[in-house]
Symmetry: C2
Subunit: 491 residues, 2 copies
């Protein structure tokens, strides 16, 4: 135990020791029934006499803060609840802390939506239904990894990630039409870290990054936190408007193009094949790296599969990122990047200085779980379930929401992106919906220029059963009608 003692102080040492324990007990940081060190031991730790420690303990006993039990030691008692806890608000912060208050970009952020409180239906969630996770199989994989690898499962993994898992990822990608090599795969702590590593490597404060408008909200938070300018390129039913992109490339010289070509978050649209080729050509012409976020590229429910941009890459133009979070357990925090050339080596270095490597045990268990066949089977099951849920949501929307709601039928992914009736805004609708027992992801979070998002909301169909979807959309319909007032007669 280490207690700060001031040997030059007028306060006797035993009083200083007593005060330290008193503070810990009253603040609750030493909970009741905590055993205190024996006086002999503490005296030696602090370099004081044993009598000094015993005097301090005697004061605490007298004040009812600790008690000794013969034969088993000295223990803390519950603190007297009449003592006020000192708030930290009164502290005067150093100047550098006051400056941090001005870093507004760090405080403007979405809140992770709490899980269903008071039977709220959180249609705004970005997650999928955890009841679909193959938890039993994964638990077996964990146990097998520990049995097989012993202490090795708890050591650091290679910096680029556990090699067998990288090979497994290569096989999964090959079965999806993307060919790469384990030497070009970097395991990350989920897609968010993939984004963060690329941003740390390629962007400096003041740089410009091109994003789709709308785009993934936490990517916008990330770029803002790194003090990077986000320029949005509008999207339509064929994805990013690539001709608008060219103007941005000419005028703004962005250092990165961040895109989700498949079932984009939040809009659900896919980039068309001709635009994919144009995007690669433009990025090459203007010397801008592409970061392809393929977060749900294989959750397709109808229509033709589009190749990843990465498969069109003539070499080293595209950094590809994906992960397992949407299909498997998001709390595992495992994703990956695919890249070639100097950028790959630099990303490994950046990963190393960020956290040395991702947790080894989880990587080993995931590798045992994800064989191509098992993963594909789980994927097929997810597709079947999510297609049904999408249909349920589209059908409920048609029946339950005002007729002037507009949407593009998503052919895959997790989300319906809804344009509200003209008289409504996402921000004003949210509290009304909350009262009705349903929430959604409001549009502004997804736009570089937040106000452009007011006409939109994002709904997740993949996380709920058709029955819950039906009820959630019914509540949303009631909320919309209440918010619109009597103007809308839609049923």
């Amino acid at each position: 135990m280490r207690i700060p003692l001031d040997r030059d102080s007028k306060t006797p040492l035993y009083r200083q020791i007593e005060a330290s324990f008193r503070k810990a007990i009253e603040s609750g940081s030493l909970p009741p029934q905590t055993r205190l060190p024996a006086s002999r031991r503490l005296a030696s730790d602090l370099g004081v006499s044993r009598i000094t420690v015993e005097e301090a303990y005697a004061e605490l006993v007298a004040d009812g803060l600790i008690a000794s039990r013969p034969g088993s030691g000295t223990f803390t008692l519950p603190p007297c609840s009449l003592w006020p806890r000192r708030g930290t608000d009164e502290t005067s912060w150093p100047l550098w802390q006051e400056h941090l208050r001005l870093r507004k970009e760090l405080f403007e952020r979405g809140k992770t939506e709490p899980a269903a409180v008071r039977r709220l239906i959180p249609l705004g969630t970005g997650l999928v239904d955890s009841s679909l996770f193959p938890i039993g199989d994964f638990r077996k994989a964990l146990a097998r990894a520990m049995r097989r690898d012993g202490a090795g499962a708890f050591d650091y993994s290679e910096e680029s990630g556990y090699e067998p898992l990288r090979r497994t990822i290569v096989h999964v990608l090959a079965s999806q039409g993307l060919q790469t090599d384990a030497r070009n795969v970097l395991i990350t702590a989920g897609s968010q870290q993939s984004l963060a590593l690329v941003a740390q490597l390629l962007l400096s404060p003041g740089d410009t990054v091109v994003v789709e408008s709308p785009t993934y909200s936490v990517a916008l938070e990330l770029f803002r936190a790194f003090r990077v300018q986000c320029v949005g390129v509008p999207t339509d039913e064929d994805g990013m408007q690539v001709d608008a992109l060219e103007k941005v490339l000419q005028q703004r010289h962005p250092r990165l193009i961040y895109t989700m070509p498949n079932f984009q978050n939040p809009s659900g649209v896919c980039l068309s094949a001709p635009r994919r080729r144009d995007l690669i050509l433009l990025a090459d012409r203007y010397n801008a790296p592409i970061l392809e976020d393929d977060f749900v590229g294989d959750l397709r429910y109808e229509g033709r599969a589009q190749p990843a941009l990465k498969t069109l890459d003539p070499g080293g133009r595209v950094v590809y990122m994906s992960g397992f979070s949407k299909m498997l357990m998001p709390g595992l925090r495992i994703g990956f990047l695919v890249a070639e050339g100097p950028v790959y080596d630099c990303l490994v270095s950046i990963k190393r200085v960020n956290d040395l490597a991702s947790p080894n045990l989880v990587q080993r268990a995931l590798d045992l779980y994800v064989s191509v066949g098992r993963y594909q089977a789980h994927l097929r099951r997810c597709c079947r379930v999510f297609r049904e849920r999408r249909d349920a949501m589209l059908e409920a929307i048609a029946r339950r929401l005002p007729a002037d709601c507009r949407l593009t039928r998503p052919r895959g992914g997790l989300f319906v992106w809804l344009r509200l009736p003209k008289s409504l805004s996402a921000t004003s609708l949210l509290p009304v919906a909350h009262k009705e027992g349903v929430t959604f992801a409001p549009g502004p979070a997804f736009f570089p220029a937040r106000e452009e998002g007011e006409p939109f909301i994002r709904l997740n169909f993949a996380a709920f059963s058709p029955e819950v979807i039906e009820e959630g959309i019914a509540r949303l319909g009631r909320a919309m009608r209440r918010a619109c007032g009597a103007a809308h007669g839609a049923k």
Copy 2:
């Protein structure tokens, strides 16, 4: 499956499909015995006729790349090994990739030392002995967390970390004399991420950071990767020379002071009590945040315990970091920060954009494992074992190394920091030692000005049994004598 098809190309579609599979099989990314999609399914995925797919498959069958097994499907065969694999070295990289080659700071980095190859004794390792890890107990904690929490164990945790674990950390810290609150604790992916988050928040390219000279090598890598200037303050047997620090604060206006006051890595020294108070006062006077890295503060084998700088903090001056990696399993990648005020909120935001949150299951299992009592018991056991190993190493050094090796007897921690005889340098000694079957951590990696490290090497006593230490130091002695030539007659 997604294969890029060019419908305007003169190459027929079946040839394009065939070429894509051929490339995947020959490159090894589709391994032998992979089942190909049924032709009907692939045709629908790609929006081509079934006959087109069948033609492509027929070509691959004819070339011996795939084979069909009646009743079970079409499978890949081992690729013909006569086909050369196309290297990626010939690729012409885009210009932005060529620029990355110039980011030298990202390529100058230490290599994680491989585990004992060819009976090498890697005395340079930064890890402790994995045979001490309580793996059985931790496995039980994992199983219990999954049983108790079901799918909840696999969801995202709170951004600041799993709340019960933060409370447990508060109790552990209180039992060590540091009082805080769970609202001031942030769970990170190990100490490396703690460092990275603080650096991302407080430092921009071109800023100056104060470090001890020598200091933790991967911290130097991190600051260099972030293009931050490192200014070293010399250390002696009482730790950082705080009067030298004042000059640096006046002249360089650093944005951060990074310090390890207890059993410093690599030197093993502790900052004296008067210097601790001076450091806090100086940091306050010059408005510089202190990052206190207390990586092994409780691995003390003798002498008086020093309070953490954080306990002397009048409020919001010190960001404290520690973790479990050294005492428990490093591959778990769980560490924590303690901070108050705006800096805490900003660090949570930076953590969120970096990876959303640390893996939930691991946090829950760790919380179940680390009760104050169990952790303290494990700590006591580690201290007993490591003290014995330290003594073994000091004794072996006295007997086996040239008499003009100099060292400060470490009173805790993991390392002996050795000054080599004048005629030797770490860099030239390393290959000789390697040939003798022992390695060490060479000094230059630990100094902001690398060349200042040539007289030093770091040896780890905590990772090896006394027998292995004896043998390792014997080999090191032989290497030194060989490197010195006949000049040294020391036995």
